[in-house]
Amino acid sequence: METISVTSDYIPILIQIVVALSFVVVVMLVSHFIITKRRRVRSIKKEDNFECGIEIEGNARFPFSVKYFLIAILFVLFDVEVIFFYPWAVNFKESGWSGLLYMLLFVALFMFGFYYIYKKGSFDWNKDEE
């Protein structure tokens, strides 16, 4: 089954984007026009952030420590590796034992990196809290 993808194969997705966008726009416009029939009330209290219901202290745009930023980095590493599994999985039935052998090698490297991160304590986020 040799099929070559061409750009025109992706027209359906373009049309799906248009349908999705126009749905959102139509819903927002309908909502907007129903409201403008009625009188809009404006006040400082109303236009202010709700936050948690009480007076707002300071601004939310301040630097703060995101403890799980490491997740994002690890995710990039691991997700690239997971992507490599897809072409392997599609052709796995033809490749047979040799395919399994190569994949074992790859997974061994994968698990070695995983073990290193594990031992390094990257998954113990609540450790230095004590």
Partner: protein, 365 residues
């Protein structure tokens, strides 16, 4: 086969009707647009049923009635809620980043609607029958987190920001084990196209044919996708006891409605994918054995229409996700990430290898 109206008859009729009035190119475009709108409408009806179902299931599990005032058995409650949301004013707060604040819900919903394209709804009824269907869905569904991060950051609200950050970490981590479970099913089926995967289950669903690894992969996929949808017990992004309402605290009216809709559409898509990969999508329940009794059984199962199988499986998985919500207490963020990185990820990798060995030895039925 019994003679009944198949979906392919309807599409063929529309095709010939359109061809008689316009050129083939326009016919193609109009058909795609029509199928997109149809998929959207079907999904919206599903969402309305799901919202009603969620409340009724919650009521059932907590020994109360659930909605029972608007219409018989409260069936018009959801319609009333939609009308209420449409009538509410959606405004952006003064301190918010107005542009990003208004784009965020649209982006989140568009991304989840795009994942609809490669789904196989019934035999021969796919909007975009491509050879990379599942890969496309996994690629697109990981973009959903951008909408949530945008909403959380642009609100200029500390709780929204924390909620969005949590949600980012959570969705991104659970994508790994969800992806690995998908790879397990792809390795069993040997194709990435949604139609091909369903056709490969003609003599039995993968959850039966694929032995233990398929069952483990299915369970991991359901857990990971519950987390990806920000559903309880993984709803840390909108943990109401600590974060007001999480990333959509500042949203009102239909903008909030779009986030709400997005959550349910995500749930529907995730359960459609789970049923496509492991439960055979629209494929009736067949047994993979070569006995006369089994043939009769398989033939009887063919009499149940495919749309009933499709929506039956979809709502079964959705029911499980609702059941989780009222069974498990909410996790803490470090427990949540520990569950993924220390347990689900290694288990799914080992499970993938286990599945590979079974495929090589031809132990799968």
């Amino acid at each position: 086969m019994i003679s009944m109206i198949e979906f392919t008859d309807i599409t063929a009729w529309i095709h010939s009707l359109l061809l008689s009035v316009m050129t083939p190119t326009w016919t193609y475009i109009v058909e795609l647009a029509l199928s997109g709108v149809t998929a959207l409408v079907v999904l919206l009806v599903c969402v309305i049923i799901m919202v009603y179902m969620e409340r009724k299931v919650a009521g059932f599990m907590q020994l109360r009635w659930g909605p029972n005032r608007v219409g018989p058995y409260g069936i018009f409650q959801v319609i009333a809620d939609v009308i209420k949301l449409l009538l509410k004013e959606s405004f952006s707060p003064n301190r918010a980043d107005k542009v990003m604040f208004n784009i965020a819900p649209a982006l989140a919903l568009c991304v989840s609607l795009m994942a609809l394209a490669p789904i196989s709804w019934a035999p021969g009824l796919t909007m975009w029958d491509t050879n990379i269907g599942i890969l496309f869905i996994t690629a697109i569904s990981s973009m959903g987190v951008i909408g949530i991060l945008m909403a959380g950051w642009s609100s200029n609200n500390k709780y929204s920001l924390i909620g969005a950050m949590r949600s980012g970490a959570q969705i991104v981590s659970y994508e790994l084990s969800a992806g690995l479970s998908i790879v397990t099913a792809v390795a069993l089926a040997g194709t990435l196209s949604t139609n091909g995967i369903i056709q490969s289950q003609a003599d039995g669903w993968w959850i039966l044919k694929g032995q233990i690894p398929a069952i483990i992969a299915f369970l991991i996929y359901v857990i990971a996708s519950t987390a990806e949808c920000n559903r309880a017990p993984f709803d840390l992004a909108e943990a109401e006891s600590e974060l007001t309402a999480g990333y959509h605290t500042e949203y009102a009216g239909m903008q909030f409605g779009i986030f709400y809709l997005n959550e349910y559409i995500n749930m529907a898509i995730v359960s459609i994918i789970a049923s496509t990969l492991f439960l055979g999508g629209w494929m009736p329940f067949h047994l993979p054995f070569d006995y006369p009794v089994v043939h009769v059984f398989n033939h009887i199962m063919d009499f149940i229409p495919t749309w009933m199988w499709f929506f039956g499986k979809m709502f079964l998985i959705i029911f499980f996700m609702m059941w989780f919500r009222w069974t498990f207490p909410r996790l803490r963020i470090d427990q949540l990430l520990k569950l993924e990185w220390k347990y689900l990820l290694p288990i799914s990798i080992v499970n993938l290898l286990f599945a590979a060995v079974i495929i090589v030895l031809h132990w799968h039925l």
